[in-house]
């Protein structure tokens, strides 16, 4: 039996303006999953429950079969986050950031990091503060790829990417999850991107996961609902 890369089991918690109620779903290896919903629906809060140590929620969140509350630090080795919430040393270059912070990961490869940065034409010697939002996301993604996580969490990254790179990005993610038996969970407001780019989509409304299924079907349902 295949172990889900990520599973939410009856996760309930309090957000800033809402309650997340009984969220349950699984992310299987080899697929791209998307979460969509209005601002304040709970997408980012769900990510924070995974990423924050001692996040206040009830229920169980497992990464690669391991409850994140049991050993959060070890689980973080298996997760790659790309988000505007992610902090780096602003006055340092990408290379310096990768060197200093990559050391925290068990299998971080500086070589892999440099290769991906080169592939995406982002100079590793550029100071983080001086990078555009898209470049920052590319750097973060290269940083994540360099430690071979089994779960990529991408929080609203589409908004900072140009259309050409978006296509390139999905191609790269497909290649990654195929080669490394990983999965991607991303949030976005852009429904068309979710429909074409992801395999499964979930819709969050006021802290509840109202729809979850294959992306084209979910997109159909949402379009019908809007009409």
């Amino acid at each position: 039996m295949t172990v889900p890369v990520l599973s939410f089991e009856h996760v309930t918690g309090k957000g800033r303006k809402f309650h997340l109620e009984d969220i349950s779903f699984e992310v299987m290896p080899g697929f791209i999953y998307g979460l969509t919903g209005k601002n304040g629906a709970g997408k980012t809060t769900l990510f924070q429950y995974i990423m924050k140590e001692n996040a206040g929620y009830k229920g169980c969140i497992c990464v690669d079969g391991e409850d994140i509350k049991d050993n959060h630090a070890a689980v973080m080795n298996k997760v790659g986050l790309v988000s505007s919430d992610n902090s780096f040393f602003e006055s340092c270059t990408c290379r310096q950031n990768a060197k200093v912070l990559g050391a925290f990961y068990d299998g971080f490869s500086m070589e892999k990091f440099e290769t991906v940065m080169e592939e995406w034409k982002v100079p590793p010697g550029k100071v983080y503060r001086k990078m555009s939002r898209g470049e920052k996301y590319k750097f973060q993604l290269a940083f994540a790829i360099a430690h071979d996580p089994c779960l990529y969490l991408l929080d609203e990254v589409m908004a900072g990417m140009d259309p050409v790179f978006r296509r390139e990005f999905f191609d790269r993610m497909r290649q990654l999850i195929k080669d490394e038996k990983a999965s991607v969970l991303m949030t976005s407001h852009i429904l068309s991107e979710m429909e074409t780019g992801t395999d499964y989509t979930g819709v969050l409304e006021n802290g509840r996961l109202t729809v979850f299924g294959e992306s084209p079907e979910v997109a159909d349902k949402l379009e019908r609902k809007i009409i």
Binding site: M51, H72, A73, F89, S91, Q96, K99, A103
Partner: protein, 167 residues
Amino acid sequence: MDGKGFLDKGQQAVLERFFKEEKIWYPDYWYLCFAGGLMLAPAMFLFIMPFQIWEGDYTSVLVVLVLELAGVEVYLGRYVSFRAEGKIKDVYEVLRFLPLSRCQFKRYRIGKLFRLCLKLTGTAAICQTAFAGVFMHTFSIGNILMPVLLCFLAPMVIACCQRNYMC
């Protein structure tokens, strides 16, 4: 290892390596070393003197103690916060999504404080005992207890009351 109940050697070693590279990411490294040293030096100057000399002058002791506590705080400031874009940021803010337990980070900080206090206490106790013996031809257990109280217990107790150091 869950990184909560005891020292995780792996995480402690990574933190040690991270802070060895601090000159890369820490713009105030030399300034804080210098400022911390500047505050600690006069405090230590008094504390290495046999307490029999300054016994009774509690105002001076209090002033010097405050200077010493501030010096320790400044000297260890690099383990707590750093300056970026003109703002003071918590170091852990950059490390929070990495494979590192917050508790282990706090234990690392307290370890650094413990070692600094131990060095200050050792220096003060040895010097006080030697100076008391050589120049005053006397020795009291106070020559050891005073440095322990002022250089070790006082900063450690204050740190224990701060959330930056305790889990």
